[in-house]
């Protein structure tokens, strides 16, 4: 047993951190928040060229074939810097869906472009309020043409490719691959709680699509994609949680009230200690998830759900409390606290909400009747 990242992997992490410190200062995040674009195209290009997004993509499809452990650390740094990039949609979900379910031709057509960042993929699932379940899917494919409306779709304005869950002709639900340049696609930006990763409504009217993976297997495939995406997203969440924690710590050291640093009041100290505890528990769960993902362990469903549940909690707690520690300043647009608060609450919903993952976790670890 060696339950830590290797020195080489930590070096890679430090490299990503340095690059993001330079190329993704908070002004870049804020430019996206204040602007129309769904993400920072310049940063996306740069990160794409660096090969970091392609860590887990095999070399034959244009990746660097390093592995998931490396990609986890990249995700952590992206989360720490609040990178306004389509990672959850394109890297953790669309690429993974292609790797899991794509034909050779589909992989060859899309993976190299996704790996380099030349193209952006997304997953289009939800249609209406409430947890997305089979009964909530109305989008339908007939004769190879998709009709229906998906909302909210992450990075839906910029995406080149959408993986869509829809009813098929046999009455099952399947995944389909939609080239968003095709006919019948309408996109509309929608306002969401996190303007640094924008979303859209995608309407399809007889849009030509191809099946992705076996017919009727939509949910089963999606579950596998989500397990992988959950681990990677959890690393973004702990990266963000750590940034929020240290932002609060630094402010508590610098702000004086009642003649002392507010960080000398136990109420503040203990709040920060609880944030640290939540973060470390989440980090440990994430490490296990990373390992399970990297070896495709049988325990991946439980490991992914644990990482996801713990990381969601930790980021939500840290981002809420960082506002609290900042007092009135924390409630301003100008201070960065709300960017973490927004991001944490977006990521909490990005792959299905907390109760979904809590239930998946218990389903995975539930003792079987003897």
């Amino acid at each position: 047993m060696q339950f830590d990242f290797s020195d080489d992997q930590k070096e890679l992490r430090d490299g990503v951190r340095r690059l993001l410190d330079q190329r993704c200062p908070i002004s870049v995040v804020r430019a996206v928040a204040d602007g129309e674009a769904g993400h920072s195209a310049e940063l996306w290009r740069e990160i794409g060229e660096s090969g970091f997004l392609a860590a887990a993509v095999p070399e034959q499809y244009g990746g660097v074939g390093a592995g998931y452990l490396e990609l986890c650390l990249v995700a952590q740094e992206l989360g720490r810097s609040l990178a306004p990039l389509p990672t959850v949609s394109s890297v953790y979900q669309a690429s993974e869906a292609l790797l899991i379910a794509g034909s050779d031709a589909q992989k060859a057509a899309w993976l190299p472009r996704l790996a380099s960042g030349a193209a952006i993929g997304t997953v289009a699932l939800a249609e209406r309020p409430g947890e997305t379940t089979p009964g909530a899917i109305a989008a339908t494919v007939r004769g190879g043409k998709l009709s229906g409306v998906k909302i909210p779709v992450a990075d839906g304005i910029a995406a080149d490719l959408a993986i869509v869950l829809a009813k098929d002709e046999a009455g099952g639900q399947s995944l389909f691959l939609a080239d968003l340049g095709a006919a019948g696609v309408t996109r509309e930006g929608v306002k969401t709680i996190d303007p640094t990763r924008k979303h859209a409504r995608l309407s399809f009217a007889d849009t030509p699509v191809e099946p992705l993976g076996a017919a009727g297997q939509g949910w089963a495939l999606l579950d596998r994609v989500r397990d992988r995406a959950a681990v990677l997203t959890a690393f973004e969440q702990i990266g963000g949680a750590e940034a929020a924690l240290f932002m609060a710590r630094d402010y508590a050291l610098q702000r004086f009230a009642f003649g002392r640093q507010i960080g000398s009041f136990q109420a503040i100290k203990h709040m920060l200690a609880d944030m640290y505890v939540a973060l470390e528990l989440a980090r440990s769960n994430c490490y296990y998830g990373a390992w399970a993902l990297s070896v495709d362990s049988d325990t991946l469903p439980a490991a992914a759900a644990s990482a996801r549940v713990a990381a969601t909690q930790a980021y939500q707690l840290c981002s809420a409390n960082t506002i609290q520690v900042h007092g009135g300043m924390g409630f301003t647009w100008e201070f960065d606290c709300h960017l973490h608060y927004r991001r944490s609450n977006y990521l909490a919903l990005a792959l299905g909400g907390a109760s979904l993952w809590e239930s998946r976790l218990i389903a995975a670890i539930r003792p079987r009747a003897a």
Binding site: M1, K269, H270, Y276, A282, S284, I362
Partner: protein
């Protein structure tokens, strides 16, 4: 990152499992299973005799005090082998209960501070289950504020001038001393100089618990047991050779004990989660087993990630330890999380049991009253060995670098520090 056993680790695990399968007292298994954390309960046999027998058997076969060097009765094993052993030993590990303070705190302190001769004498006896140790730190006036202890040690004349000269004479009182009645040795912190700053006037000893002048009075606990005690000292003599560290260096010695306490208590604490998971599959509701109820699942998942988070955090510490890193203040997390969790889990389990959750009779209560006993024991975990508040302070100050609390006793000689008594005057 590798979670699987290496071939060597797998070999160690197989040997451990085989030895346990052939040697463990399986007849005690069911009783051990429901024996709670914090105190070994056995009804069919004498618990101390059973604990000593298992320890001796392990010692004779080379499975005792795994991480200690061989010359002190240990097996020279790696931190990871220790973890593997605990996993394999399972419920029989609870038989080590009476030795935990010895292995976890007193032993490491002796190892760091005693003479070579003392170490070669005392440590193998501990490893073999021959001696039980207790920790004589807390006093009525000083728990969290350990450096505020008052038990007095005064040296009797010049060492070597005549028989007994140079001995230390102890007067005072300790409290909350777990296992004092079973103990052969005690690790004792005393005040040797009340006129200097409180951390500077302390001196550490180890003491034969059968010494004349030691009086032990059991304390009845809120959970209807008596594990902890008051210990009174009236002119108890301790040879100067049983001093650990220099006169006035007691605080530094105590830090060795406390650092190891964190590691040993926090590293592998039970939380009650696996048992709760089982309970949730057994309790029936209108819609099938409780575990399939979405609200139950939500709460259960929150416990699950804390339990797995603690387990994997312990693995991270072990990996760091294997690389030669020192256990740091981040290990304070273990007890802080597990203590509150046991209490929360007990309440949640009782709620699931409905009105039957009130029953504490082992023959009638669900799961032989496991969760009722946990409810009544768990408050102690949040206090003993560093309260929740003290642990949060440690994390805030030593991990996150926040300022220390403002202290009323800073830069004040011990005998001038305000107390409850001086406040009344």
């Amino acid at each position: 990152m590798n979670f699987d056993d290496t071939p060597q680790e797998a070999d160690f695990r197989a040997r451990a499992a085989a030895w346990i399968a052939n040697n463990a007292p399986f007849e005690l298994g069911p009783e051990l299973d429901v024996s709670g954390f914090g105190h070994l309960h056995l009804h069919s046999v004498d618990r101390i005799a059973a604990a000593k027998a298992w320890q001796k058997k392990k010692f004779d076969a080379g499975w005792a005090a795994l991480r200690w060097p061989r010359e002190y009765g240990g097996a020279g094993a790696s931190p990871i082998e220790q973890v593997i052993w605990s996993e394999e030993e399972g419920v029989f590990g609870k038989l080590s209960g009476p030795f935990n303070i010895g292995f976890g705190m007193c032993g490491p302190t002796v190892m760091a501070w005693a003479s070579e001769e003392q170490k070669r004498h005392l440590l193998p006896r501990l490893a073999a289950g021959e001696d039980i140790w207790c920790q004589l730190f807390s006093e009525p006036v000083a728990g969290s504020d350990l450096a505020g202890i008052r038990t007095k040690a005064v040296q009797d004349g010049d060492p070597g001038s005549e028989a007994g000269a140079g001995d230390w004479i102890i007067n005072g009182q300790k409290i909350w001393t777990s296992g004092a009645r079973d103990a052969d040795w005690g690790l004792l912190i005393t005040r040797t100089d009340p006129t200097v700053l409180k951390h500077r006037g302390l001196t550490m000893f180890f003491l034969d618990m059968k010494s004349p002048g030691v009086e032990i009075r059991p304390i009845w606990q809120m959970n209807e047991e008596s594990v902890f005690n008051e210990v009174y000292f009236t002119d108890v003599r301790i040879p100067d050779a049983q001093r650990l560290g220099e006169v006035g260096q007691g605080w530094t010695v105590a830090l060795t004990t406390l650092m190891n306490e964190r590691m040993s208590i926090g590293g592998s604490m039970p939380t009650g989660f696996p048992q709760l998971l089982d309970l949730c599959t057994q309790i029936e509701t209108e819609n099938g087993p409780a575990i399939d109820d979405p609200r139950v699942r939500s709460q259960l998942a929150r416990f699950a990630v804390r339990a797995s988070g603690l387990q994997y955090s312990a693995f991270r510490s072990i990996s760091a330890l294997s690389r030669g890193e020192q256990p740091g203040p981040e290990n304070s997390i273990g007890k802080l999380v597990a203590g509150a969790m046991m209490q929360d889990i007990a309440r949640f389990a009782l709620d699931l049991e409905g009105e039957a959750g009130l029953l504490q009779d082992k023959e009638l209560a669900p799961d032989r009253a496991r969760f009722q006993e946990m409810l009544l024991r768990s408050p102690a975990t949040r206090i003993e060995g560093g309260s929740d508040e003290v642990l949060r302070n440690i994390i805030a100050e030593r991990v996150l670098g926040l300022p220390a609390d403002i202290r009323a006793d800073k830069d004040v000689p011990f005998d001038q520090i305000p107390t409850a008594a001086s406040a009344k005057r």
